[in-house]
């Protein structure tokens, strides 16, 4: 089960976990990351088509890099209140290292390559250099530094 989904409606964390957990007797570890609206309501604009395409591409990269039994990425758009979930990334593997690392990889790369833009009360949110740095640490030429 390798899936990317872009949607306006809320998603179900328990269902995502259950799907990853049920991928067979080889699953020993599931990691779920969820990102949620912090401090003030947000509006999320996205590029339909490219968003799904980039998320699916990151999942394919993670799958090539770690021995995954499943990976899931869900990203919402539209108006979201404080505390609402924006994004979910989930991975399933035999062992925890692959599940943790691939989930962190997926989030770091979604942050810098999935075409979503946040607007808060003060206007469009600026991209952060720390997000580019987080993604770059996964490039083979640069190592994990």
């Amino acid at each position: 089960m390798f899936e990317a989904e872009v949607r306006r409606a809320p998603f179900d964390v328990a269902a995502a976990h259950a799907r990853l957990s049920a991928l067979g007797p080889g699953v020993g570890a599931v990691v779920l990351f969820t990102g949620q609206v912090r401090d003030e309501p947000l509006f999320l604009e996205h590029y339909p088509g490219m968003a799904e395409r980039q998320m699916a591409a990151r999942i394919a990269e993670a799958r090539a890099r770690w021995p995954l039994l499943g990976a899931l990425a869900i990203h919402r758009f539209g108006a979201l209140d404080v505390g609402e979930l924006i994004v979910l990334v989930g991975t399933a593997s035999a062992h925890r290292a692959a599940a943790f690392e691939s989930a962190a990889f997926l989030m770091d790369w979604l942050k810098t390559s999935a075409p979503f833009w946040k607007r808060g009360r003060a206007g469009w949110v600026e991209a952060r250099a720390s997000d580019d740095a987080a993604a770059r640490r996964w490039l083979p030429s640069k190592g994990e530094g």
């Binding site: 604009e45 490219m50 994004v87 942050k111 075409p115 833009w117 206007g123 600026e126 991209a127």
Partner: protein, 84 residues
Amino acid sequence: MTVRLLYFAWVREMVGAEAEQLPLAEPLPLGELVARLRARSEGHARALAEPARLRAAVNQDFAGWDALVRPGDEVALFPPVTGG
């Protein structure tokens, strides 16, 4: 032949449109295409003034300013992404 142009976030707001068409007869580097677009309106000029503040995609993949845009392509211009 044309190129389909898409704008997002503050680029969309400054340009004043979310999509438009640009006539294109033959391949053109993305940077030159953006230079042409600046002449369309004051909004275009302002939104596209600083390529360093922009990112671009050609056919839904990220592309650099030297990438060749071909007639029929979909080109999107937007700020660095801030989702997740």
